[in-house]
């Protein structure tokens, strides 16, 4: 929709150190954002090994966890984001006809 085109996506990826799954997740996320949200997304990576208390505050269980902070509502996607289809459903950024 028209509004959707202008809103900025704020995405936060929770990882625990530089594990293969984390690296894969970040790579997958970047590729996906470039493909669908080019120019209107921001990715922040939170390493829970550095900020362990954030696991409780932000209710993280699985690693990696991707949180869509904006636009609301908050959505959570877990895994290395290799299943692109599911990530798009989870983030609610499935390309729509009117956006093409």
């Amino acid at each position: 929709m028209k509004n959707g085109a202008r809103r900025t996506w704020r995405l936060r990826l929770y990882v625990a150190g530089q594990t293969p799954k984390s690296i894969t997740a970040l790579a997958n996320l970047k590729r996906l954002c470039e493909g669908h949200l080019a120019g209107r997304y921001r990715i922040e990576v939170v390493d829970l090994l550095k900020w362990p208390h954030l696991a409780r505050r932000d209710e993280i269980v699985a690693i990696p966890t991707l949180v869509r902070q904006l636009p609301p509502p908050i959505r959570k996607i877990i895994g290395d984001l290799s299943n692109v289809e599911r990530v798009l459903i989870g983030l609610d950024v499935l390309p729509r006809d009117d956006e093409k």
């Binding site: 829970l48 409780r56 269980v61 959505r75 895994g79």
Partner: protein, 524 residues
């Protein structure tokens, strides 16, 4: 907080001296602080290791686990982390309040950390491989934040309903249990019982040290809770099912085993309250700490004897706790006034407390726990249970006797002299029906009616009195407006005892009786 002041009578029993230190010792244990549980586990849960507590819905897993943390924080200087997968922190706080635990205060003092792990499959999308490292970090951070020594995971199996990759979850749970051991925290992991299986997802495979099973079932219209130690590696444990209770004081387990016979036997005497009756026990009455059984059919004067005993205690300035399972306090006071025993002044001075309860109102174990608690609170020197038979009716056989034995041992340890009345049916069966209970008693008296010469006269006899010379006579007594009065023994020339109007006739002819037996004729 009410919890702190409560009965901490059972110190963890140290085994070979390695006691409670270091997770290395194979028998190091962490006391739960839950009355009864530390007894049957001989000191508590395996220290530094996870224990599995499983059971069906509503069986008390969460509360048991919570009390383990609260007691740890309050009594053993071991802060705890409660990670809940089921109830929110607010719910936990509210539920624990009903047991008298103030979780908010404990949290504020950093003795407890509640963490609700919310996992809603509908709110979570899975897109690729993951692990539970976030949970590990989260738990680890919570443990470090308050220096926790104890951890509860309740109910961790809910991970399986929140996440779909069973393979990953199983691998991660196995890792979690190894991790908990490495962290050296004493943990309780709860799990839902699932039909034939101990736990729905086979958690018992990972927790190999200690498994406790909880169960709640309805028997004779009252719900009873049972606890069983299924497994305790490297430690003796009672394999029996133990009744347990959850009430406003928390969890209490009632071990069916007895406390043992380590109590001190007193040589001090306690008056029976009836002068003539004291004479039947080496002139002085019962030993302090004795348990006394008074049996008889209806209307033979059991309660009157109990009232005498209670009043005598009050007159000595000792507190008396009277458990009435048939009558209310005011009924007892009124009835006793009619035979000249005025109990009300002692009630007013709080030297006599009457606890009246319908036996059917609660299950047997609930009664026993209530009795324990009242005794602990009031600290009486003398206890009356009138009648104990009503308690027996609530429970069933062996269990009842075992639990009664426990109550008796408990009172003996405190040197409380206890009198139990027992209502028996018919005369022939009287002794038989009491046999099971009487073996627990130090003194056993039988009240009854003697029918002879067209008269019915009241009689009392001492069936047994451990460690005491006691009269072998069947003594006649009368109920006067001053209570029970034993009538002087009056013998015929042939040595037989004359009773009722025959006694009157005999007395007019002058005293009789065998001089050799005068030792037993101590009659005031």
């Amino acid at each position: 907080m009410t919890a702190t002041g409560r009965r901490r009578t059972h110190e963890p029993r140290k085994r070979t001296g390695n006691g409670s230190r270091a997770a290395g010792g194979p028998l190091a244990k962490a006391p739960t602080g839950i009355p009864g549980l530390d007894e049957i586990t001989h000191g508590g849960l395996p220290r530094g290791r996870p224990t599995l507590v499983c059971g069906g819905a509503g069986c008390g897993k969460t509360l048991l686990a919570m009390e383990f943390l609260v007691r740890g924080a309050l009594d053993y200087d071991e802060p705890g982390v409660f990670m809940s997968f089921e109830e929110t922190a607010a719910d936990l706080v509210a539920n624990a309040r009903s047991l008298g635990f103030d979780l908010q205060r404990l949290s504020a003092r950093r003795r407890l950390l509640l963490d609700y792990v919310r996992l809603e499959r509908s709110e979570l999308t899975e897109a690729g491989e993951y692990d539970l490292e976030g949970l590990f970090i989260r738990l680890g951070d919570a443990i470090d934040a308050i220096g926790a020594k104890r951890v509860v995971l309740d109910t961790i199996e809910l991970l399986f309903s929140g996440l779909s990759d069973g393979f990953v979850l199983r691998a991660e749970l196995a890792r979690l249990f190894r991790w908990l051991k490495a962290k050296r925290v004493t943990a309780i992991v709860t799990a839902e019982r699932d039909g034939e299986h101990l736990t729905r997802h086979g958690l018992e495979e990972y927790v190999s040290d200690c498994v406790i099973l909880l169960d709640q079932r309805v028997m004779e219209q009252s719900a009873t809770r049972r606890l069983r130690i299924l497994k305790y590696r490297g430690s003796a444990h009672g394999g029996n099912e133990m009744p347990f209770l959850i009430d406003d004081h928390g969890v209490s387990v009632l071990p069916i085993t007895s406390l043992g016979l380590a109590h001190q036997a007193s040589t001090a005497h306690v008056s029976t309250g009836v002068a003539g009756l004291d004479g039947m026990f080496a002139k002085k009455g019962y030993f302090r700490g004795n348990s006394v059984l008074v049996s008889g059919t209806a209307g033979t004067g059991k309660s009157s004897l109990a009232a005498h005993f209670a009043k005598a205690a009050c007159r000595r300035g000792e507190r008396c706790l009277y458990f009435a399972f048939e009558e209310s306090a005011s009924q007892i006071a009124r009835n006793m006034r009619s035979i000249g025993i005025d109990l009300e002044p002692w009630m007013r001075r709080d030297l006599l407390r009457v606890h009246a309860a319908r036996p059917t109102a609660l299950g047997l174990e609930a009664h026993l726990v209530a009795m324990h608690r009242l005794i602990e609170d009031y600290e009486p020197r003398v206890v009356v249970v009138d009648p104990v038979t009503n308690l027996i009716a609530v429970g069933s056989d062996i269990e009842v006797k075992a639990m009664l034995a426990r109550l008796i041992d408990f009172m003996k340890m405190r040197q409380i002299t206890a009198l139990f009345t027992s209502l028996t049916q018919g005369s022939a069966a009287a002794e038989a029906t009491d046999l099971g209970v009487s073996s627990l008693m130090d003194v056993w008296m039988l009240l009854g009616n003697l029918e002879a010469n067209g008269e019915r006269n009241r009689a009392i006899q001492v069936v047994k009195a451990r460690g005491m010379a006691h009269s072998n006579q069947v003594r006649e007594f009368v109920m006067t407006d001053r209570g029970i009065t034993l009538v002087d023994v009056s013998r015929r020339a042939d040595g037989s005892v004359a009773i009722g109007s025959a006694r009157g006739a005999q007395q007019q002819q002058g005293p009789a009786g065998d001089p050799k037996r005068s030792r037993k004729r101590r009659v005031e």
